[in-house]
């Protein structure tokens, strides 16, 4: 690729939006071209400046209550159900002669997909609740520390297992701390990591399965992404509102740290 072509792709490259082949091609070019390299460096500096926490406007504390109140009030004031019942009231469906079973199927189609699938994944739902609770109740961590040598011993005596604690600060996922939580009918370790403004809860608890299993397909519910996998006889579940790609990167890094490959 020429410098011009590289400049055109540089944003997509930095955003992780281009394919591996072209990404590698750009990475090969940068050490040899000072001009392109400094364009990349400047953009990276700009990006890290914009993504700083202080530019994120968090909702004022009382807005949540006010929104909730307005929503509930409006819901009470609304006397007639909308979509489904208007259609039912019109009686058109009778004329077309749809059976009761077909109506049931149609009604089911109106329910968001995740509400239906949530029954299959009770842990996913539990984990999202735990994640949301940790963010909303201002109870993110019991032990707030970016030092894994502080976080890991904290769990001693509080749990009947010792969760592996890894530090990914250098990879852009600083450790924030740890917390006791409850999942899958048992106490679990919750490690909290951060990526820009997004928190990641990594839940860990023992598994009967000895084998290492790669991360299962991500589950997306309510705007949160979840990855669940087992390794070193532990269950791992990562949940965050971080985008799927970066959360996957996080999962990969954790997985690599825990299970060093055969080559020394």
């Amino acid at each position: 690729m020429t410098c011009q072509e590289i400049r055109e792709l540089i944003h997509a490259y930095l955003d992780g939006e281009i394919d591996l082949v072209r990404s590698l091609e750009i990475e090969r070019h940068l050490p040899d071209c000072q001009v392109c390299a400094s364009v990349v460096q400047n953009l990276q500096t700009l990006r890290s400046a914009i993504t700083r926490d202080s530019l994120y406007h968090r909702a004022p504390p009382d807005l949540r209550q006010r929104v909730q109140a307005v929503v509930r009030q409006s819901n009470r004031a609304e006397s007639k159900p909308r979509f489904a019942s208007l259609w039912f009231a019109s009686g058109r469906w009778l004329g077309v002669g749809i059976s009761a079973a077909a109506v049931a199927v149609l009604l089911l189609a109106l329910i968001p997909a995740w509400l239906r699938s949530s029954a299959d994944e009770p842990i996913a739902k539990e984990a999202i609740s735990a994640h949301v609770r940790s963010l909303m109740a201002d109870h993110l961590t019991d032990v707030a520390s970016s030092d894994r040598h502080t976080v890991k011993p904290w769990f001693n005596g509080r749990l009947d297992f010792s969760p592996p604690v890894t530090d990914l600060t250098e990879r852009g996922f600083p450790l924030i701390g740890g917390r006791l939580d409850y999942l899958d009918n048992r106490p679990v370790a919750a490690l909290v990591y951060r990526r820009q403004q997004h928190f990641i809860n990594l839940f860990i608890w023992p598994s009967a399965q000895p084998s290492s299993k790669a991360a299962v397909n991500p589950v997306t519910q309510q705007g949160f992404h979840l990855f669940r996998w087992t390794a070193i006889e532990m269950h791992f579940l990562a949940v965050s509102d971080l985008n799927e790609r970066e959360l996957k990167e996080f999962v990969g890094l954790i997985h690599d740290q825990l299970t060093p490959t055969a080559t020394p």
Partner: protein, 177 residues
């Protein structure tokens, strides 16, 4: 309209994304008061359409509504901020001249950055907010802002370029004083 269960679900799906909603509204309207109004209005709209929600992503769905509500608000307040109709495709991305800005940016004040972002035309600003502050992918931004993927990329590129220019101009002015 909804029973307690359904309302509970609505709150579970949509309320956790209040910060994202407020952040976008705050950046698009420029002020706290209007942002709060827009957020409230957005939640009422969301409530109305919740039974039709097919998407699995409550945040993207809510942000789409917030953006829409913001644009309605901007149209009503046009005298404060004209919506700049501009052509995405005609102006290409100019090549960046490498400069000393990297060092200067590192120490840039929050206030300076905030100002540079506020000064961006709204179409540029929204892609920066969604990408850099919400960490959304091009695809997600394209869905929310109803834009082609290529336009998301070119707007983001030009927005960053403008930010760099604004910050460089500022630091050069500072240097001359």
């Amino acid at each position: 309209m909804y029973n307690t269960n359904q309302l509970g679900r609505f709150e579970q799906v949509v309320l956790p994304h209040l910060d994202a909603a407020y952040n976008l509204a705050r950046w698009l309207t420029h002020n706290d008061h209007d942002a709060q109004d827009v957020v409230q209005e957005s939640y009422l709209r969301a409530l109305k359409f919740f039974s039709g929600l097919r998407s699995e992503d409550g945040r993207a769905w809510l942000l789409t509504i917030v953006r829409h509500t913001c644009y309605d608000w901007l149209r009503q307040n046009r005298r404060f901020e004209p919506l700049t109709g501009f052509d995405d495709e005609l102006q290409g991305v100019e090549s960046d001249e490498p400069g000393p800005e990297a060092m200067l940016l590192r120490t840039a004040e929050d206030e300076l950055l905030r100002h540079a972002l506020e000064e961006l035309p709204v179409e540029f600003r929204e892609v920066v907010i969604l990408r850099e502050l919400e960490g959304l992918s091009y695809k997600e931004i394209a869905d929310i802002a109803n834009l082609p993927l290529g336009t998301v990329m070119s707007r983001l590129a030009r927005a960053r370029q403008r930010l760099q220019q604004a910050l460089t101009a500022h630091t050069q002015r500072e240097a001359q004083v």
